[in-house]
Amino acid sequence: MAKDRKDFADFNQPDTLIGKEVVVTGTLNSEGDIQINGQFEGKIEAAADVIIGEHAKVKADIRAGNVYVAGEVEGDIQAIERLEILETGRVNGNVNSQAMSIEPGGILKGSSAMQETAETAPAAQPTYELEEEKE
């Protein structure tokens, strides 16, 4: 389930957390949530959610369930469910998600592609049967 703003604000126990004064390079893989408040360069893959904090500077391609951006991201983002660019967020790259929202003040420089969700896709193809005329 996607997080709303209240959850985002209370998001203080992520599985992986990179603090403001920490610089990380490489590939970050996680089964749980990731929150980045410092600097990161490389690649991020998470089975759960990725949060880019307000002071974060990230140069990476990101692939995760939900992605919330309040800092700076330079790279492509693939959110399996939802991408949210918050008012302080800046994304310089192409994004791909099922649902996306950009708050006033949030910036996206790049193309966006929307995936078809289960709700919007037709559940089954309609079938047409012709009744045979009875003689």
């Binding site: 599985d15 957390l17 603090g19 403001k20 004064e21 610089v23 990380v24």
Partner: protein
Amino acid sequence: MYLLLVNPKAGNKLYRRIERRFIGLLNRYKIKHKIVVVDDLSSTTDLLKENIKSGIKAVVAVGGNGTVTAVIDALADYDLPLSIIPITKTNHLARLLGIANWQAGVRALSHHHIRPKRLGKIGQRYFMGELTIAPKRNLIKNIFGQKSRLKRFFGTNRPLTPKNQHSIACQLKLDSELEVSGQLARLDINLIDEGKKKMRIQLHTLTETGAEVSVLWANRLEINSSLNMPIVSGNETLANTPATIQAVTKTIEVIQPAPKSKRKQG
């Protein structure tokens, strides 16, 4: 039978003062035992080799942090459970296991409730539980700041605040996948017992607004720092940076106090 490796120097030579009561309590609980006195902790491996025979139910470290880490390191190659009887008040692992004093340690032996604990390695040395890596200045200030009777009397035995902490430039390499750099005031490493989970690494950094914690996971951690920092388990220094710390798949069975319901039945 339990093999008791006793460090007579631990806890300001407390064992000599409690010896009669200690053996009395072992006999009261009908715990068959053999006591081996370890005068020099570096000979623990040899003493264990000489005294391990069939029929031994567990090896018991009787002493402080130094005794426990020496026994863990020596016992890692054997398939025998470990038990801890703390003689000092600062026995870190005993405290983590919920063993408050030597009497509780003896009681835990009588219940023989076993749980596997994961092992880690620093260089060629095994360890268990938690590690702390910090600049010497922070460690000393923390220990003396809180233990000083004079400071306690004046009410100034407060833990270190970010302002009076010292931080050191560190570079960490995690599983050859991530490189982390920052000014660290402390680094805590936890071995997680559940399944094959990685080590939990908590980096404490200092910011203008206060202390901040970063959390990362790895099976192998290489640490380099601009100044050497001690790697501490409880109050026992196991090594100094630069060092490589890794979580191994090996576990050691540890005797813990039985759960309360089981104790009532017993």
